[in-house]
Symmetry: C2
Subunit: 248 residues, 2 copies
Amino acid sequence: MAQPIRLHQVSPLKASCHQCSLSNLCLPLAVEDNELYRLEDIVQQGRIFSRGEHIFDQSTPFRSCFAVKSGAIKTSIISENGEEQVTGFFMPGELVGLDSMGSKNYACTAKALERTSVCEFPVDRLEELTAKLPDLQHHVYHLMSQEIQGSHQLAMLLSKNTAEERIAALLLSLSSRFHRRRMSGTNFSLPMARNDIANFLGLAVETVSRVFTRFQNQGIISARGREVELLDVEALQTVTREFSRQNQ
Amino acid sequence: MAQPIRLHQVSPLKASCHQCSLSNLCLPLAVEDNELYRLEDIVQQGRIFSRGEHIFDQSTPFRSCFAVKSGAIKTSIISENGEEQVTGFFMPGELVGLDSMGSKNYACTAKALERTSVCEFPVDRLEELTAKLPDLQHHVYHLMSQEIQGSHQLAMLLSKNTAEERIAALLLSLSSRFHRRRMSGTNFSLPMARNDIANFLGLAVETVSRVFTRFQNQGIISARGREVELLDVEALQTVTREFSRQNQ
DNA sequence: CGCGATATTGATTATTATCAAGGATCGTGG
DNA sequence: CCACGATCCTTGATAATAATCAATATCGCG
């Protein structure tokens, strides 16, 4: 039983999911230890992208999903007229490209927000593997449904909430995602520019700026550029719920 | 080979995908004829829901996906404060519940907009079957990714487009979905109330009403209640692209 | 036929976009 | 290491789209 595992680990091109600190967030989460070699077998050792580089481009042939190992990625769709909509931010341990599963071409463009390393899962191999490992298949379904749900939440945010509520929600989301990686949930560095935040939340950059300063004046956060400190998480949570108070 | 098929078809509780007029839109689309019995084997003959009835409720245990056979369904999520967001409309041939795949509970509530019949696919059996039929697995991935993409498009619509553009886009979407079923794409009956349209598109009901009358005055559509006729499809398409013109 | 739910229309308000300008920060090359 | 340009961020003034408030009209159903 141990033999085949070793055999696969020796290849320098294969990632070692066993040793990855993100294995409890990423796909290995759904794979038994003694089956992990099968995942390692299809993973391609990640390239490193520097800030601004594209991991993949919308409408080019869909080949792989990518797990973020370090850094951060933003995905966006471009409409026929060239209008961009940021559809998501992806942090270490998160899987990019699920919105293209089962499609011929990538449904969006993925861009590194900072120096970013990724693990690559070729989809043909991934589909083969999910057919063999029910738990992995279940997990992929789960991740995809999570992405649908997240997108629905975003739609809700966009159509029902004020600028302050949207930004509070984003800050809290980032906070919990940092926290999950055992990093500070109150003191972190935003991987994205104000512009990306604005686009993602359906706001103008100026509005984002104004809300940041308003939150600072209220002592809820402290921000210098991309460095953010959440001084009053409860207040932020209140802001996201504020809407409901007024309406009931 | 023909024997097992017959054997399964005789059960009165099993749906006959073979004979279903929607088999080219629904899951059978991805299953070979000689494997179709396996799908029929897990399908539960659809119940019929009258207008307003719930097919399933958010936060109750996730058991099944449902294919719409006739009628129409709306899905919506309710936030902690009771705020509702309509997340989608489902027409015959479309699959409801994918946003809950891999989850313990339903992620949304599904409600019949009119008298609606459905086919039920229990997820445990469906997951088993997708593991055995690679084409079906691929198709489910495809449908889920389509739902992610649709949701991203909605986010784009909500954050970047005017009321007129949003409504034009919805009308065109419905038109093409009717057309796909070989029904008129220019003369149909809206399955949902103005309220649902408004909620889905992030608008106030009054705004929806106003846009409808504006479109009528411009001779683009003709509407009496839920009966709609698209008089000038090109004009509608122009409206959805109007935004781009102005910005470049 | 009548009631409640749904839809339309009008007047006013408010949130956020847009326009405009200045200030900070970053990265690069001299 | 500093200077430069470019990008990014902030702040202010004004404008516009759609929400809200309010009232009436119509539809659908029992």
